[in-house]
Symmetry: C2
Subunit: 470 residues, 2 copies
């Protein structure tokens, strides 16, 4: 089985992954006479920097995600496939999915990253991470459910499970989760419970290293820790989690009761990186060349969180959206340039596409340079840090910068406008609009693992006229 | 175990269910010196009349649902419990939940209704109904997934599963689902696929009776059927579904291939109705007295979809929001009046609450009268019917009336404003903002039942400083 895109001679670029890297590559390529296929196992692009807002009930999934098809609708030469990529055949230049093989002239792999539990995969159901919409909904479910269960137990006069929330890992995700949880407890949920006081919930942020936001300059780390403290978060640095069990986290001998544990500690690259058959680093990122292609295959590029790319000083580029966006555009430009030069060379040749495939020789390419416009990390309401190289900013101004950049970059006008209104509204009212507990009511260490729903006896049918048999 | 509300002598009203009936009863009671406990198994109220918009990706769940606690936050004498009610002890006046017994002086049961499959419960996984947020998300998932799978198969050159959508039951829910599906195929999804044409999807609306919207006057039924026809929906009346299997629906010998089957054919009252131990009708609705109390227990009321209440002509009241709202307010007023008259009678008595419980005698009560302001059913974009008694309206004007009433009634200002913006936006752009496929990628009759996800080999941990063990 082959994709229908094999049927003509237009050069073909296949992009795996519709994150920031893949999407920007597709857009930058789309104006050229190229056939582009973008494959993702989801039908939507997720604006990952705002995932923590879904996890903390501030935004709905639909407000930070948009269908890949909608985003790319205007580009008639872009085909979007929702499919799971299972592997690659680099020799025959095809991408394998569960149902078809998709041939390519150029391949861009932008499959992203997931969580790492450092060999403790059994912790995953006890301490969910935050990489997908589903992750965010699971975290939201657990956090909200903990308050509901506490209220129910308190109303029934039972001993309460302590309302402790533990966030493991004080990188940007851990810091924003802990800060926003604190905000919720003190504001959004205040005055809504009768038997418990949400403001007495305890939020701990656990970090193995000596400081929070380790990739930021020292002074901003200190500022972030102070801002967390002001929000009511207890920060424990140089503290290593040794065990997680339902309802508790251990640091060596110390046991901390925990209603909800969230995991923001480690990142592992997509397993697709290893399937390219070239060297990867410990987290599974592909060791790319300076031009972001892989050794021995100049027609295959790896970008975004899946790529282990270095800057001029030999320092690893961080797994953030601006890097992926710039890499996507860089690779697209490179491919367009090469295809255009080949069009000129092969003028009159019967198969343009074949000439590319048989060409073999790739012109010398420039190296990718990351233009770092600065780093922003949000902590909570009017709390953030910003690192613009020589200028370091903290607090409200940094938060405004963060807000501006993130609303500006949200893909699609509709989302941008709605998110802005939502944000303005909740800033004024302290409300969290998306506080729905959907799915199961199981909370590890609190409710019994599989509560059997009461069996509903099937009532007799109502006497109305319908298409169903009588 | 008893709820803490037993600890004082304020009269106690327990409300089961936070739908339109329960919520309006709670609000109307909240201003009186009464302790109110409202119990629901969900933490949110669902604005059911707009559920079909979630099912068809027009609105996000958070836009038509709001936490019960938020809605009732201002009423300090209202306690909200998220719990599953398992039964009632009418003699001892307690409501049983999985964890506690909640005592009451008055009880209002407003537990609503669910789908009925007329003895074919095996059809449920094949043809989901639309009563909850989870139902809506499941329908959304299936509808969107069908288009994605069709595109993927067509791109791979495989024979396509026909893009047939079958809606069973042409009551208000079936009509709005079918109409909105047609709208999506012709507008929202147009120009987004490369290998299939969504406009060629086929939508069938199956009705066992002779006409659509059977509870509406003849002329409006005819108008609705014409409007459906104009939207491209094939209506089959007097057609009875005899079998549903993965990928197909049967009417006797006739087989209709179906990518997605939706069930809007039958309603069954909550099984809690039967647990009251009084007579119920065939769909399980409680046969209430004219004052909405149950025989032998004047302190127990049943309202909303769970009540089989009749109007002056002996005609069953429909299971719609206005009936539930008016019943909730009626019962609340009745309870307040009785408690106030007892306060006057028992002045100086040590226990006010006890005097109510031991009083036994209930004053003669008025009967509930439903004030029918009219019925509205929407069909799709600018298509609806409205029955205002002597005045029958169809088309755009009816749709405007429907829109106005529904936006006006959406609970909570934030939702009202956002939904309005959303609606205005999608009316102008034809966009559907919430087109996310979350959860499984299984579609009965299309994908294999349990597709095993590719096993991700666990990459080695990244070398960053975190709270996790090294």
């Amino acid at each position: 089985m082959t994709s229908k895109v094999t049927r003509n001679n237009t050069p073909r670029v296949v992009i795996v992954g519709a994150g920031f890297g893949g999407l920007n590559a597709a857009r930058a390529l789309a104006k050229a006479p190229i056939q582009i296929t973008i494959v993702d196992r989801k039908n939507y692009h997720t604006f990952q920097p705002l995932l923590y807002q879904v996890a903390t009930a501030g935004l709905s999934p639909g407000e930070i995600a948009a269908p890949v098809r909608s985003i790319l609708r205007a580009y008639k030469n872009v085909e979007v496939l929702m499919a799971e990529v299972t592997g690659f055949d680099l020799d025959h230049r095809t991408v394998q999915t569960s149902e078809a093989e998709i041939p390519y002239d150029y391949l861009i792999v932008a499959a992203g990253a997931s969580h790492a539990y450092f060999g403790h995969d059994d912790w995953e159901p006890l301490a969910p991470g935050l990489k997908t919409i589903e992750d965010a909904l699971e975290i939201r479910r657990r956090v909200l459910l903990a308050f509901e269960l506490a209220e129910r137990q308190a109303a029934a006069g039972e001993s309460k499970t302590p309302l402790n929330f533990v966030v493991v890992g004080a990188g940007p995700t851990g810091v924003e989760l802990a800060g926003t949880l604190a905000e919720i407890c003190h504001h959004a949920l205040a005055h809504e419970f009768r038997s418990i006081d949400p403001a007495r919930a305890h939020i701990s942020l656990i970090e193995g290293g000596p400081r929070v936001l380790a990739t930021y300059p020292d002074d901003l780390s200190r500022s972030a820790q102070e801002q967390l403290h002001r929000l009511g978060v207890e920060v424990r640095t140089s503290t290593t989690v040794t065990q997680i069990e339902p309802g508790a986290v251990y640091f060596g001998e110390t046991r901390l009761a925990a209603a909800v544990v969230l995991w923001a500690a480690g990142v592992a690259a997509s397993p697709l990186g290893k399937k390219l058959g070239v060297p990867v680093d410990r987290p599974g990122r592909v060791l790319v060349q300076p031009d972001l292609s892989i050794p021995g295959h100049p027609e295959v590029f790896v970008i975004g969180d899946l790529a282990a790319a270095k800057d001029e000083q030999g320092k690893m580029l961080p797994g953030v959206a601006p890097v992926a966006i710039q890499q996507g555009r860089f690779v697209a430009k490179l491919i367009r340039r090469e295809l255009e030069s080949r069009i000129n060379k092969s003028l009159g040749a019967p198969s343009f596409s074949r000439s590319v495939r048989e060409g073999g020789k790739f012109d010398s390419r420039p190296a990718f340079h990351y233009w770092n416009k600065g780093s922003l990390a949000t902590i909570g309401r009017a709390a953030a840090v910003a690192d613009f190289g020589k200028i370091h900013v903290s607090g409200f101004i940094a938060w405004l910068a963060w807000l501006f950049v993130h609303i500006l970059f949200l893909i699609g006008f509709r989302n941008r406008l709605l998110v802005f209104i939502q944000w303005a509204w909740s800033y004024v009212t302290y409300e969290r609009g998306a506080r729905l507990i959907t799915g199961s009511t199981y909370l590890p260490g609190w409710t019994s693992p599989a509560p059997a729903p009461p069996v509903a006896t099937q009532p007799a049918p109502q006497e109305i006229h319908t298409g169903a048999p009588k």
